[in-house]
């Protein structure tokens, strides 16, 4: 087992090198020259060439790649953005990651909490009208596309009731956006997805747990029903949710660009999209590497947890 973990961890930098190499190749050989994009349609070829030389873009492929990798590994220097001339990629990304993490955290925590409660309820009330209604309504809410949720909620809560801001992203208490009203609408919308899937998962898991012998034992011992529900049923049913949470951990640094565009949130999604369209390759590389690292580590964590969940699976 330990050998397996070590082997997987040793594989991580290899994966990252492959990912960075592939992204770099796509960028280098792809259409569109970043300096041309920067200068616009009527660009002066001499100026474009000078800008390229300044950034070392005329050097051969491998030299550029090696320079980049050395910079990242030794100095944590991800280079400078092409689009926002002069700004270091690190400075550019740091506030955006922070925004995305806050938003995703709210969405995940809200979604998983509500989902677990709903799933538990649905399973315990199985057979009555509540069970299918809860599941169907949570599925329906999670199928509503953003294009309709955002205008709908904005019209009701911002125009008619004037309770919440419909877009924007400003710090609230303690300078944190997570404690400001701006996060309420996007956070709620973001939570709808996890609510749907977590509720279903929780319900299925609870239904299996409810029939287990240890639950009967707990009841036979004379424990009050609420205690049985909370400690025995609830705790054991949550297990599969925890493995799902592992992957969600990795997706914290991502951002949905549609949501960020509709709500005016400066996060990772919008940054990624803008960088793609502006051919801002240093930023694209940095984003790809960050997300790739997060996913590789999360995958490893999940695989390890799985061996504890189902001992029949042998790794390696």
């Amino acid at each position: 087992m330990v050998a397996y973990i070590v082997r997987r961890l040793l594989w991580t930098p290899v994966v990252l090198i492959i990912v960075s190499f592939a992204t770099f190749t796509l960028g280098y050989y792809g259409p569109g020259d970043p300096m041309q994009v920067l200068m616009g349609q009527k660009n002066n070829p001499e100026v474009v060439e000078r800008l390229r030389k300044e950034r070392g873009l005329d050097k051969p492929f491998f030299e550029q790649y090696v320079n980049y990798v050395t910079g990242v590994v030794t100095r944590f220097d991800f280079g400078e953005s092409y689009k926002f001339t002069g700004q270091s990629v690190g400075d550019l990304i740091r506030p955006k990651i922070w925004n995305s993490v806050q938003l995703n955290l709210v969405g995940e925590v809200l979604g998983v909490t509500i989902g677990v409660v709903l799933g538990l309820l649905a399973a315990l009330k199985q057979g009555s009208r509540w069970d299918p209604s809860i599941i169907i309504s949570s599925l329906f809410l999670s199928s509503l596309p953003l294009f309709i949720l955002q205008p709908f909620l904005a019209v009701i809560f911002s125009r008619m009731l004037r309770l919440l801001p419909s877009s924007g992203w400003e710090p609230g208490l303690f300078g944190l956006q997570i404690l400001s009203p701006y996060i309420i609408m996007p956070g709620f919308i973001l939570a709808l997805g996890p609510i749907g899937s977590v509720a279903r998962l929780m319900r299925a898991s609870t239904l299996e747990v409810v029939n287990q012998d240890y639950v009967r034992t707990a009841r036979a011992k004379g424990l009050p029903e609420n205690a049985v529900r909370l400690w025995y049923i609830g705790r054991n049913s949550i297990l599969p949710i925890i493995t799902i949470l592992g992957l969600s951990l990795a997706s914290l640094v991502e951002g949905g660009f549609i949501m960020e565009t509709l709500f005016g949130i400066p996060g990772m999604g919008r940054l990624a999209l803008d960088s793609f369209f502006a051919r801002d390759y240093p930023v694209i590389m940095a984003i790809t590497l960050i997300i790739a690292t997060a996913y590789v580590l999360a995958n490893l964590a999940i695989d390890i947890v799985y061996t504890f969940v189902d001992p029949r699976i042998r790794l390696g």
Binding site: W11, V14, V15, L16, I18, V19, A22, T23, L26, Y29, G30, P31, G32, Q126, G127, D131, P132, I135, I136, L139, F140, S142, S143, L144, P145, F147, I148, P151, F152, A154, V155, G196, R200, A204, L207, E208, N211, E254, F257, I258, A272, L273, F276, I284, I287, T288, I291, A292, T293, Y295, V296, N299, D310, R312, I313, R314
Partner: protein, 343 residues
């Protein structure tokens, strides 16, 4: 085994209903060229934003409730059942052809990505084990590590020009016209990019199933009884995996439709004038548009595709849920005897 699962599935009214809706969607999409009353690109600038004929009952109610109601500029006619858009194109036809696009892209990407690549690589990985397994899984991890949709966008943007050059060259040398015009390039780029990233999930699940089943006692028994490898695979391993495959395919189709929508909405998927629901949503979105259409002042340019995609997403979700219940041999209605609900 499959018959039993199908029986269980048939009893779930909601899941059957969703299956019906999905089948109808795919049917209408495939037959769009036959069903659509007009071309999807025939513009008629004298007849822009005509009201929708089918919404008349709804609009009648709204006009009674809303004192400030102003009907759209052009009155509805049976010629354009859902009205026309800003360029005078028939909305119903555009929706039908948009459905066709979704059908083509989803089926193509699932066929190549999930089935061809995913099942093959997953099965290879599970059966061979050892170094082949490690190699395939690590490659898969690299693919998974890429921020999915973002890289589909990057690939689409990068590869498109080359595919276009190739297609134009092909037309020149073979005299086979109409290839570029039909939007073929867009389709290839989109579903190619989606397949490249779509295979990993299926491959991992197939491999996991095979790993699990391999250790089961009945396999050991079959080997001990002298069963050949081929017979073991066919009789014991495959039936257990097909259930999961069916589930993943249905979920995959739904996800593919959604991905195509997002890509086209961003402008890197299917491009106008080739029809796509995503493009239609992009052209007609906005808070004012939403309000205008809900209050019947404009034809449902935004509401129609959005409602369609909502219904489809919901249908796929219900279908997946029904499939899980029906295909799971340990489902509660067969073991514990509790009531089988409509879900």
């Amino acid at each position: 085994m499959r018959a039993l699962a199908w029986e269980r599935f048939r009893r779930k009214k909601l899941a059957m209903g969703s299956l019906f809706i999905i089948v109808m969607f795919y049917l209408c999409g495939s037959l769009a060229a036959v069903l659509a009353p007009h071309s999807y690109r025939a513009q008629n600038l004298d007849n822009t934003e005509q009201a929708s004929w089918l919404s008349q009952p709804y609009c009648a109610v709204v006009s009674m409730l809303d004192p400030t109601y102003k009907p759209p500029k052009v009155a509805p006619s049976t010629d354009h059942l859902l009205g026309t858009d800003r360029a005078g194109r028939d909305l119903l036809s555009r929706i039908l052809f948009g459905m066709r696009t979704s059908v083509i892209v989803s089926v193509a990407s699932i066929l190549t990505g999930s089935i061809l690549l995913g099942v093959t690589l997953g099965a290879l990985s599970g059966f061979m084990g050892g170094r082949v397994d490690s190699l395939i899984m690590r490659i898969g991890e690299v693919f998974l590590a890429f921020p999915g949709l973002l890289l589909v966008i990057l690939i689409s943007a990068t590869v498109r020009d080359r595919v276009q050059a190739w297609a134009e060259n092909f037309e020149l040398t073979t005299g086979f016209k109409g290839l570029v015009e039909s939007g073929f390039i867009d389709y290839v780029v989109v579903f190619g990019a989606m397949s490249v990233f779509g295979w990993v999930g299926v491959a991992r699940v197939i491999r996991g199933q095979i790993l699990q089943v391999r250790e089961m006692d009945y396999i050991t028994a079959a080997i001990a009884l002298g069963g050949t490898t081929r017979r073991i695979i066919v009789t014991h391993v495959l039936p257990n995996t097909t259930n999961i495959i069916i589930y993943m395919l249905s979920v995959g189709l739904g996800a593919a439709i959604g991905s195509e929508l997002v890509l086209s909405w961003l402008g890197v998927g299917i491009k106008t004038p080739t029809p796509s629901l995503g493009v239609m949503i992009f052209e007609s979105q906005g808070q004012t548009a939403f309000l205008d259409q809900i209050s019947c002042r404009k034809p449902p340019l935004f509401l129609a595709p959005v409602t369609l995609i909502t219904v489809m997403t919901f249908a796929f979700a219900l279908l997946g849920d029904g499939l899980i219940d029906a295909l799971n041999p340990r489902s509660r209605d067969s073991v514990s005897g509790t009531k089988d609900t409509a879900l």
